[in-house]
Amino acid sequence: MRIIKIILLILLVAFVAIQFIPASRNISDTVPKTDFMEVNKVPATIQNKLQMSCYDCHSNNTDYPWYNKIQPAAWFLEDHIKEGKDELNFNEWGDYSARRKNSKLRSIISQIEDDKMPLDSYTIIHRDARLSETDQKEIIKYMNLLKNSL
């Protein structure tokens, strides 16, 4: 019994201690000129949807949920955002070459078509980030237009 108590205490101390490890946060208050919305003429409805459903992980500015400051949840988020931005960063759209834009658009379309994005683990908390079938069709249609105009 004593040992269990000690272990629990150690865990508790560890839990408290990791709260003091600073986590980097993905926040930026400027929208660069290379942003997807700046480079392209995006209809307002699509802008809203992309902002709501994609930008948290695919741009330099995340609208964080309340638990973002609690470790290890914060690390988990940080990891996700890093991976998301590596794959596609809407803020850097203007810097992508035509070849890469084409690749990214193809992936965006395919991910949305297959219901892979936004991630289930994300939409379970962010209910408003879910894309309805109409939303999906509209976004796919727009991305196809963009792809054909490259």
Binding site: K5, L8, L9, L11, L12, A14, F15, I70, Q71, P72, A73, W75, F76, D79, H80, E83, S97, R99, R100, N102, S103, R106, S110
Partner: protein, 201 residues
């Protein structure tokens, strides 16, 4: 005392849950490594791997290594073999990463950088995706490799093939070392679909 113990155990449970959540990602990285060591090439499909030419020109070695792994992905997709395609995708990623551009002009370097950055992503995705996604990435990868060869050249004999039906009838190209059409986009479903667009060398 009892209360303290209960509070502690609740805290621990929270901690364990949170830790478990954060572990997910770590595990995924491990799984990313290609899963199979066998190549399944000896199943009577395609023996293009063995047809690759001996390279005597050292400047072409890097390009030929890329083409070689590209063809391995192609053969795996022809054979509907996700694992073999994933393994070759991982190798191809490494080839692109180590590609030495120093002997090219600055303009060519820029173009090659663009191609390689794009191709690396596709190779990486091929190494970790289900087969239908592998095929989507292979479509764009093929374009990258064709454009790359236009700059680097190669001494390998290649056929540039075209399947008009893939990607909702938008069509897709691929490279092969044999004259016979074996379609990597549809595999066994439509093995013969396609035509030779041009011959390289």
């Amino acid at each position: 005392m009892r209360k303290v113990r209960m509070t502690l155990s609740i805290l621990t449970m929270t901690l364990v849950t949170l830790t478990a959540m954060s572990c997910k990602d770590g595990k995924k990285d491990g799984e990313r490594a290609p899963m199979s060591n066998e190549m399944h090439q000896d199943e009577g499909h395609n023996h293009e791997g063995s047809e690759k030419m001996m390279t005597n020109n050292s400047g072409n070695n890097a390009t030929n290594a890329i083409i070689d792994n590209y063809l391995q992905i192609k053969n795996a997709l022809v054979a509907d073999d996700q694992e073999a395609a994933a393994k070759a995708g991982g190798n191809l990623f490494g080839d692109f990463k180590n590609f030495d551009k120093s002997s090219y002009s600055s303009e060519e370097k820029q173009e090659l950088t663009d191609i390689i950055e794009d191709a690396k992503e596709h190779a990486e995705h091929i190494s970790e995706s289900p087969i239908e996604h592998q095929r989507e990435h292979f479509d764009i990868l093929s374009k990258d490799v064709i454009d790359m060869i236009a700059i680097t050249g190669t001494d390998m004999k290649l056929y540039q093939d075209f399947c008009p039906m893939y990607n909702d009838n938008k069509g897709a190209q691929w490279l092969s070392a044999t004259k016979e059409i074996k379609n990597p986009y549809f595999g066994s479903k439509m093995m013969k679909c396609g035509e030779i667009q041009r011959e390289i060398n």
